[in-house]
Amino acid sequence: MTLMHKHTLKTAQLIAAGVAAMLALSGCSAGGSIQPEAGAKQVKGGTVSYGHQQEPACVFGGWIEQAYLSYQVLDNLVSLDDNHTIVPWLAETWQASDDQLTWTFTLKEGVSFTDGTPVNAEAIAYNFDYWAAGGNSTAAVWLGGYYESAEALDELTVQVNLAKPYPLFAENLTQAYFGIQSKQALETRTEEENCASPIGSGAFTVGEWNRGENIELLRNDDYTSPPANARHDGAAYVEKVDWKFISDATTRVSALRAGEADAIYDVPAIEWAGIGEQGYDQLKYVTPGRPQQISFNTARGIFTDENLRKAFVYSLDRESIVDTIGKGVIPYEGNGAVSRTTPGYSEKAADAYSFDLEKANQLLDAAGWTERDDDGYRVKDGKRLDVLFPYSGGTIINADGASILQGVQQQAKAAGFNVDLIPIPPSAAASGKYSGVDGYDISVGYWTSVNAGIQYINWRQNLPESPNNWNSAFYNDPQLEDIIVRANSAADLDEQNALYAEAQEYIADRALSVGLYDRLSTLAVNPHLKDVWQESAQGGPVFHDAYFVE
């Protein structure tokens, strides 16, 4: 035995050493002076090679990966700036009626889509209907229950009619799900064409799409409609963005180091520090909205009992797990409803629970889960304390996330929970196999949003007449819904935030959902490429202002 160990070990270490040496080599080659010397001047044009992670089937759609992509091609009515204020984009001005039910947007003049047709009120109105009809599934969800109709008052004025007051309406429109497309294109072109290369008025147009490899974004030379928070007017500086799809995180980082990519998306925590030391610019955006959180199935199974939910939460030292795996890059998030960057975020809700194994055990004993089996799992009248915990690996939960969940599993074990951690293959996940009330005891996931209004989507009751499958806790509580609806409709910002906070604390008190970590959108950029920034609605990269220096 030992003999063989030594052997394996030696050879293994040899290999490891060899590899290490190679890496050292690479370190030097990439680690040198990548910084441009001071006062390096801007060069015209050029192609940005950008390494993104996942490749959507279509450019425009309800998936955040699509939002990031379509943002380059489509303009929205309004944009969100760093101070979280709504600024003009295609719409110069906008206002809501006093009853908050009708919104009018006045458009910039002389803007036209890249197919030559004008960006006019008619087109805007058409887009609203298009989204609501499912043209963008996520936009449809945002509009659901509020949107009634949109009409062109004149060439440049469009009026949107809502069913309920919706102060956050404009704010929500800053998400790329609400990118404006050419009416003509939507009407006349095939679904395939609109999928592969939507026609907007954006800074870039879709060039060639080599599926599985990259998608070319070509500069729109006649670009006249950058958002107010853009850093310059007119067409983008760079001629082209080579939007590569590199699913493997390490490969992305290596590509950046090897100079094969000027910028990459989603830097794994383990690489973050090193990248920084090597002098790459690092952008980090904590997406507002629902953080990576776990919500309990309150309709079926053990977690219908509030005390067991609490026991589970107390058994976790979420902060230490996240800090270790997250290497201090991924921020711990205690709040289960919204992330720290969301307006109306409640610290109180975030701090509601901290690691307390004592309490966890007390609660469990009290609940009658007194015995333990040989593996240390709690048992009650012959039934083991099993927790069904499926998660969609790869897509919603990345590698770091998976490690964190394993941490959760380990810590919950100490309290006697047997957490059955099941990575769901994408097809099964998408099929909703694990999304039903029998699908899980705990579900994990995030939902980016520009404001706490997300709670309306996640916590509105799931009723036969108005189903809401996004209520992942299966928690039907008119009281909670009422708080959220009032918040959504509150005209005054402070009042609104207060109500949102109340909702978060309501959720925390009942341990319906607790946070794990904030979802990040990170970028690493070669310093020779300047002025790449992350838009504030969802943290996608913006290349309109980007330029190279040498």
């Binding site: 035995m1 063989m4 160990h5 394996t8 070990l9 050879t11 293994a12 270490q13 290999i15 490891a16 590899v19 290490a20 890496l23 493997d248 995180a249 390490t250 980082v253 290596s254 794994p268 383990i270 690489e271 090193g274 230490s320 797990i321 800090d323 270790t324 795996i325 690996g393 790869g394 590698a399 770091d400 998976a402 490690s403 394993q406 941490g407 599993q409 380990q410 951690l421 099941i422 990575p423 769901i424 293959p425 097809s427 099964a428």
Partner: protein
């Protein structure tokens, strides 16, 4: 004087070397089996307990294979992983051989029509991408060792099936079968006494080699996300988990992979030895 003679092929006298290789591989397999049966004896620590203070330590005397992102001792995980990995390997190879035996013998012995059908089935199995088979199975059964066993087993079955068919046919047309017929033995007796055993013997070798290959395959599946669910220390899962750290902690993937290679090598060598000794006919 030999020197002046042009060298030609030596009479085959590999025996002693084979013995050496055989011994080495047998010992290796033995060690892995031991690990599978009594991991707690061999593993320095528990494969699941996390120690965040010890995350991502490179190989050292304390941690021969280093530690992973959660501070788990990789060597212990490899040891504990042996059980599941070997089980998968054995199971898959077993299933493959079993299916192959059924298909192969029908294809070789049945009437023209039935044999024809079965041959087509084998062809289709061949033509059907193993990857897809695995993907679908995982979607249906979820990712578990069993899924891997079925996927890899069925994937390797057609290849074995052809071998079995060949074996049975050659045995069916062999002199000793004719001799048995001449002695007036009944068809089934002949099948039971001669054809089947003679077809089965090479399967022992095929199976042994198959175990190694299956483990390699299975871990490959894990690598494209079809593996056993973490935190299981199954080797494929280890590789998959290590992938995220190849630049910062290459040992997480290099060492488990190396272990797989060693096992595969041992299994193949063992299988080859069995094969050659079978060909030599010493029962």
């Amino acid at each position: 004087m030999t020197g002046v003679l042009e060298r030609t092929v030596a009479p085959v006298q590999r025996r002693r070397r084979v013995r050496v290789g055989f011994l080495a591989s047998a010992v290796t397999i033995g060690v892995f089996l031991a690990a599978a049966v009594t991991p707690h004896v061999l593993a320095p620590s528990d494969p699941f307990t996390m120690d965040f203070t010890r995350a991502l330590q490179s190989p050292s005397l304390a941690h021969w294979f280093g530690t992973d992102e959660s501070g788990r001792d990789l060597f212990s995980r490899v040891i504990y992983g042996a059980r599941e990995s070997l089980a998968i390997g054995v199971g898959a190879a077993g299933l493959g051989v079993l299916v192959a035996l059924v298909l192969g013998s029908i294809a070789a012995l049945a009437g023209r029509i039935l044999a024809g059908i079965v041959n087509r089935v084998i062809e289709v199995l061949f033509a059907f991408p193993t990857l897809l088979l695995a993907l679908l199975l995982v979607s249906i059964l979820g990712s578990s060792p069993l899924t891997l066993v079925i996927a890899v087993g069925l994937g390797s079955a057609p290849g074995y099936a052809r071998m079995v068919r060949g074996q049975i046919l050659s045995s069916k047309n062999s002199g000793y079968v004719e001799a048995a017929r001449a002695l007036g033995h009944a068809r089934f007796t002949i099948f039971r006494r001669h054809i089947l055993p003679n077809a089965l013997r090479p399967l022992i070798a095929i199976f042994t080699m198959g175990v190694g290959q299956s483990i390699v395959w299975a871990s490959g599946m894990a690598f494209i996300g079809l593996g056993v669910a973490p935190p299981s220390p199954e080797w494929g899962a280890l590789l998959d988990a290590g992938r995220a750290y190849i630049t910062q902690a290459s040992w997480l993937i290099v060492l488990p992979g190396f272990v797989i290679v060693v096992l595969a090598l041992a299994a193949t060598t063992l299988g080859k030895h069995i094969q050659s000794s079978l060909e030599k006919g010493d029962a």
